[in-house]
C-alpha cells in the first residue's frame, strides 16, 4: 500500500495570451511508508514543481492543471485548504534548498519550531518547548535547550539546515520531502546532512523524497530513483538498477558526465546542447534533440513508460 501516490500530475504556467505552458507533463510515481525515493533531474526538469504541487505550495502563475495526489485515501489537489493545512507540517513536511531564506531572521529558532508544534498539537507552551528541544537534539544540535533561544544568524549554514529538519520532524510526519537540502552547503556539511536524513529515516521510519540534481548523492541513501527530464519521468527503478544498468540514454549520460575520484583521467562525457526551454518542448521525447541514440520516431512521438511498476523506462531505444 502506497503512502503517497502521484498520478498523471501536470503543472502549468498561465501564459500572457491565456494559454498554458506546461512544466510538469504527466508525472506518475508512488512511495511506500518508510521508503526513500530520489528524484533526479536538471533545472527545469519539473522535480521541484511536482513536489510543490503535492504540498499545494505553488504560487501563481503556476498551478496544478491535472492529475491526482492520493494521500490517506484523499486527493490532496481537491481537499479544502483547512484540511491541507493540517496535512502540511504534520503528515508531510518539506525542507528547502536555502536554509537562510527558509527561516524568519527576526524570531528565535525555538519560537519557529514551537509555532509549528502548537499549530498541529494541543500542547502547552512548556510542552511545545520540550518537543522543540527534543527535535533539535534529534538532529544533532548539542545543548539544544539553550540553542532554542538563538536567532538564525547565530547558526552556521549547516546548523540552520539541521534546525529546519528539526522543524520538519517535530510533529513526526510520515513523509519528509527534501528539495536539494544540501546544494547551498559545503561538501563536508553536505555529507553530514545526508547522513542525518538517512539516520532519521532509519530511526523514526519516516519516508523520504530527496530531490537533487546529483545522482551520486541521492544514491547513497535512497531505495529507488525517479529520473525526470523535460517535465516527465523518463526512467525509474531500484537505485542499484539505475546506477548499474541504466536504460534511458539520459540516465546513462547523467551518470557518465560526473567525474570520479578514482580511475583514469580523461575528457568528461558531455551531454551536448542544453535542456529544453519551457514552452519549446519537442513533440516527442524531450531528450531527443540531445540524445546520441535518437532515431525516427523519437522527435515526433513521446514514448510510453514501459516495464513493471518497479522498473520503468520511457524510450524508443532503451539500452
Amino acid at each position: 500500500m502506497s503512502l503517497l501516490s502521484i498520478e498523471g500530475l501536470r503543472v502549468g504556467f498561465r501564459g500572457a495570451n491565456g494559454g498554458v505552458i506546461e512544466a510538469v507533463r504527466g508525472v506518475d510515481f508512488a512511495i511506500a511508508p518508510g521508503e526513500a525515493v530520489g528524484i533526479v533531474g536538471e533545472s527545469g526538469s519539473g522535480k521541484s514543481l511536482s513536489m510543490l504541487a503535492v504540498m499545494r505550495l505553488l504560487a501563481s502563475p503556476a498551478r496544478a492543471t491535472g492529475g491526482r495526489v492520493i494521500f490517506d485515501g484523499a486527493d490532496l489537489l481537491q481537499v479544502g485548504e483547512a484540511r491541507m493545512r493540517a496535512v502540511r507540517g504534520r503528515d508531510i513536511a518539506m525542507v528547502f534548498q536555502d536554509p537562510q531564506s527558509s527561516l524568519n531572521p527576526a524570531l528565535t529558532i525555538g519560537r519557529q519550531i514551537t509555532d509549528v508544534v502548537r499549530a498541529h498539537q494541543q500542547v502547552s507552551a512548556g510542552q511545545a518547548r520540550r518537543i522543540a528541544a527534543e527535535a533539535l537534539e534529534r538532529v544533532g544540535i548539542r545543548d539544544a535547550a539553550r540553542r532554542l533561544d538563538a536567532y538564525p544568524h547565530e547558526f552556521s549554514g549547516g546548523m540552520r539546515q539541521r534546525a529546519l529538519i528539526a522543524m520538519a520532524i517535530a510533529c513526526q510526519p510520515r513523509l519528509l520531502i527534501a528539495d536539494e537540502p544540501t546544494t547551498a552547503l559545503d561538501v563536508t556539511v553536505q555529507a553530514q546532512i545526508v547522513d542525518l536524513i538517512a539516520e532519521l529515516r532509519r530511526d523514526l521510519g519516516i519516508a523520504v523524497i530527496f530531490i537533487s540534481h546529483n545522482l551520486q548523492l541521492v544514491s547513497e541513501i535512497v531505495d529507488r530513483v525517479v529520473v525526470m527530464y523535460g517535465g516527465k519521468v523518463v526512467e525509474d527503478g531500484p537505485v542499484e538498477a539505475i546506477e548499474l544498468a541504466p536504460r534511458h540514454p539520459y540516465t546513462r549520460l547523467l551518470r557518465a558526465c560526473v567525474p570520479s575520484l578514482v580511475g583514469p583521467v580523461g575528457p568528461l562525457v558531455a551531454i551536448e546542447g542544453a535542456p529544453p526551454r519551457l514552452g519549446r518542448m519537442p513533440a516527442g521525447c524531450p531528450f531527443s534533440p540531445r540524445c546520441p541514440r535518437a532515431v525516427e520516431p523519437c522527435a515526433s512521438e513521446m514514448p510510453e513508460m514501459v516495464g513493471e511498476a518497479s522498473r520503468r523506462v520511457a524510450c524508443w531505444r532503451p539500452q
Binding site: 536538471e42 533545472s43 544533532g140 544540535i141 548539542r142 552556521s156 549547516g158 546548523m159 559545503d186 561538501v187 563536508t188 556539511v189 553536505q190 555529507a191 553530514q192 545526508v194 547522513d195 542525518l196 538517512a198 532509519r202 540534481h213 546529483n214 545522482l215 551520486q216 548523492l217 544514491s219 547513497e220 541513501i221 537505485v239 542499484e240 546506477e243 548499474l244 549520460l253 547523467l254 558526465c257 560526473v258 567525474p259 570520479s260 575520484l261 583521467v265 575528457p267 568528461l268 562525457v269 558531455a270 551531454i271 551536448e272 542544453a274 535542456p275
Partner: protein, 293 residues
C-alpha cells in the same frame, strides 16, 4: 622569462570585523582571510585551488587579479610587484590576468549584446575597429558558440552559454593567466562537463596558465595538474593533483575526499557510517571541527 608567472610571498589579507561602535572604541578585531600564504605558479600550470567557504580561495583569486590588495606580503607578476604595476590603472598588466566569475548572469551587462561585449573588450586591447567584428566571431567559435549568438542579450542565453561568453571575453584580452572562480558550480551537471572539457582544450591549445578555484575535487582531478588545498586562510597541502588526491596526507584533505558523494559505492549500512564523516559529524559546526583538528 623563466621565473614563475605569478608568485605570492607571505601574503596576508585581513578584514575589519565587528560594528562601528567596536571600531570607535578601539575594540576592532580583524578576520584573517589569508594567512601568510606563499606560492608560485609557473607558466602553463593548471592549478586547482580547493577548500570550503571561508578557506580564502576567492580572496586569493581577488589578490592575484588585483581586485584586492594584500594587508602584508607581496603578489608578483613575472617578478614585478603587482602593487607597483597597479599604479598604472589601465596598464598592460591588467590585460595579462583575466578572470571568469562564478555567476555568469551578474558578470555580463544585461543591456549589451554578446557581440558588443566582446568588441568593446577587443577595443580595450587595441584591436583596430575593422578587425573587431571578425575577431569577436572567432572568439565565439573558440568557445564553441555560433555567430548567431552575437546579436543576443545575456538573458537569452542559457547558463552554460553565458559562462562560455565570460570565457570568450577573458580570452579576448589574450591573457597569460586565467583565473576561474567556481566557473561551473552554478551549472547543471550536463553543462559542467561541457565547460570543463572546453577549459581543458583551451589550456592545451593556447598554453594558458589557469587557476581553477573549486570545491569539487573530482572536477579538479579531471582538469588540473597541480592542486592546492586551503583551509581557514592557509595552504594545508599541495602537490601534483593525482598524488595528493590518491594519497592525501593532511586530515583535512582526507575529510574533503571522504565527503565527495560516491553513489551506491558510498552506501553505508546502518550503524556503520563512513569513518571520516563520522569524525566530522561529531562536531557541530565547521569551526568547531577546524578548531579541534
Amino acid at each position: 622569462m623563466t621565473g614563475p608567472l605569478l608568485s605570492l610571498r607571505n601574503v596576508t589579507k585581513s578584514f575589519p570585523q565587528g560594528g562601528l561602535v567596536d571600531r570607535l572604541l578601539g575594540r576592532e578585531t580583524r578576520f584573517v582571510a589569508l594567512d601568510d600564504v606563499s606560492l608560485e605558479i609557473a607558466r602553463g600550470d593548471v592549478v586547482g585551488i580547493v577548500g570550503e567557504s571561508g578557506s580564502g580561495k576567492s580572496t586569493l583569486a581577488n589578490l592575484a587579479v588585483g581586485l584586492a590588495r594584500p594587508s602584508s606580503g607581496e603578489v608578483l607578476l613575472d617578478g614585478e610587484p603587482l602593487s607597483a604595476l597597479m599604479r598604472d590603472h589601465g596598464g598592460p598588466w591588467r590585460r595579462r590576468i583575466q578572470m571568469v566569475f562564478q555567476d555568469s548572469s551578474s558578470a555580463l551587462n544585461p543591456r549589451k549584446t554578446i557581440g558588443r561585449c566582446l568588441t568593446e573588450t577587443l577595443a580595450l586591447r587595441g584591436v583596430p575597429r575593422v578587425e573587431r567584428g571578425q575577431e569577436a566571431l572567432a572568439l565565439l567559435t573558440l568557445v564553441g558558440l555560433g555567430p548567431e549568438m552575437a546579436p543576443r542579450l545575456p538573458h537569452e542565453l542559457s547558463g552554460g552559454q553565458r559562462q562560455r561568453v565570460g570565457l570568450a571575453r577573458a580570452l579576448a584580452m589574450q591573457p597569460d593567466l586565467l583565473i576561474a572562480d567556481e566557473p561551473v558550480s552554478s551549472l547543471d551537471v550536463s553543462l559542467q562537463a561541457q565547460v570543463i572539457n572546453l577549459l581543458s582544450r583551451l589550456t592545451r591549445e593556447l598554453g594558458l596558465t589557469l587557476l581553477f578555484i573549486s570545491h569539487d575535487l573530482a572536477l579538479v582531478r579531471t582538469l588540473c595538474t597541480r592542486i592546492i588545498v586551503m583551509r581557514k586562510g592557509e595552504i594545508v597541502e599541495q602537490g601534483a593533483c593525482l598524488d595528493v588526491l590518491d594519497q592525501p596526507t593532511h586530515p583535512y584533505t582526507k575529510l574533503l575526499i571522504a565527503a565527495v558523494p560516491k553513489g551506491i559505492a558510498g552506501r553505508r549500512s546502518p550503524g556503520q557510517p563512513d569513518a571520516m564523516r563520522a569524525a566530522a559529524a561529531t562536531s557541530q559546526t565547521r569551526d568547531e571541527f577546524h578548531g579541534a583538528a
